[in-house]
Symmetry: C2
DNA sequence: CGTTGACTTGAAGGTATTCAAGCTTTGTGG
DNA sequence: CCACAAAGCTTGAATACCTTCAAGTCAACG
């Protein structure tokens, strides 16, 4: 089980970055800046790197021919994304807001699989858990689960900042913007959350929200 | 890119098994037998291995408190499953039919991450693609996508064997058994498929099915 | 041949979507 | 700094799709 133990250490928020940096020789990997809405990579592009968000937020998504969009994940500061099963990107990645991204290019000959595996597994678990939300939960449960998740990833504070639009949230939860908006209103009317501004949410009754997300 | 190249080779159907065996010392990993419906592992159990289907089929799923179930993946002969991000299983795995599974226990000290990474990435891509199906496709599209996928995984033949029940298919596609049944009937009436028996499907118009799955 | 479980089919109902209008916030130029 | 435009968000009414509930059919097995 040595592998898993080492990976858990590498995964902990405080050490992820330094671990990744050690695996790649100095100088430090460069940080690229992406303005709001700009593309980080596109489906079909050649993949040769993975990415860590320094600041800002990223959406990873896929499109159907008629324009329907499914966002498979949001990535906030400190989180990693961009792994691919082969040499081509299967998804699109865009900066939601002004975003800084550290790019880790694969050096020829370097074996970084022990660094990458825990991150890939983490992403796999996340995706599989999201399948349950999309496949078996109704609109309120989806939004509640989303808010609980966002709160956790921002340190469990009452105040949660939403870097993304209602459209993004809808495309992540498999709902329309109208439904997302209606659910927000219902949660507000029930006193579960407050909406100090469009992009920030205060969780008033965290326990209620937790129960709702089940 | 050496890492990815090596992994692609390891991923190809013909070499996966031998590659995995090489990574683990002789004697060969044992094959365990699971009767239909039996549990391979449960959520919360300690994880210390991963698995490769020798024959039969496996469902991996998660439950909500009230019994709603989401199957995140089916695994057929030759496919691998059971990776976990930490030392605990986050899902249940059951044999659908009489199933043989090769168990690869993690030996202390062995670094198998380079073997595991491509499999984990493959699973990640599959899960993310399934998110699009659950989040943004309607019943016909879901069933069509499912049939196309099953056909591909069985070598692209016209005749597709379904090892699982309608209930399993529903819980995989986020639909009820009634809806699955109705869609099968509609596809049959349109002449897109034939249903020689409950668990076997003949794809008559493969192109139409492909278009429908988009 | 009868029983059991799995599947199919029908009718009614509910939840989310679609379409449409109005409101709020943000950004831009005067 | 204000006015206006544009974009994003909210709310309402009608519709559509899938689910729920119920009954009936089919197949496997003792």
């Amino acid at each position: 089980m040595q592998t898993y133990a080492a990976l858990r250490i590498a995964l902990s928020p405080s050490s992820t970055q330094s671990s990744l940096r050690e695996a790649f020789d100095a100088p430090l990997q460069p940080v690229s800046f992406f303005p709001a809405g700009s593309e980080i990579y596109a489906q079909g592009e050649k993949a040769g790197a993975f990415y860590q968000v320094e600041f800002g937020a990223v959406r990873v998504y896929r499109l159907l021919a008629d324009g329907r969009r499914q966002i498979s994940a949001f990535h906030l500061a400190g989180e990693t994304f961009g792994f691919e099963a082969d040499t081509t990107h299967h998804f699109f990645a865009e900066a939601i807001n002004a975003t800084g991204v550290r790019v880790f290019r694969f050096a020829t000959g370097a074996d970084i699989s022990s660094q990458l595996l825990p991150l890939a597994l983490k992403g796999l678990t996340r995706a599989q858990e999201h399948l349950l939300v999309l496949g078996r939960q109704n609109a309120i449960e989806r939004v509640a689960a989303f808010l609980v998740d966002m709160a956790e990833r921002q340190g469990g504070l009452r105040q949660v900042e939403l870097p993304m639009s209602r459209m993004d949230i809808g495309d992540y939860l498999g709902l329309t913007i109208e439904t997302v908006s209606r659910v927000f209103t219902r949660l507000k009317d029930k006193g579960v959350i407050r909406l100090p501004s469009l992009r920030s949410i205060e969780i008033v009754k965290h326990d209620t929200l937790l129960i709702m997300s089940e």
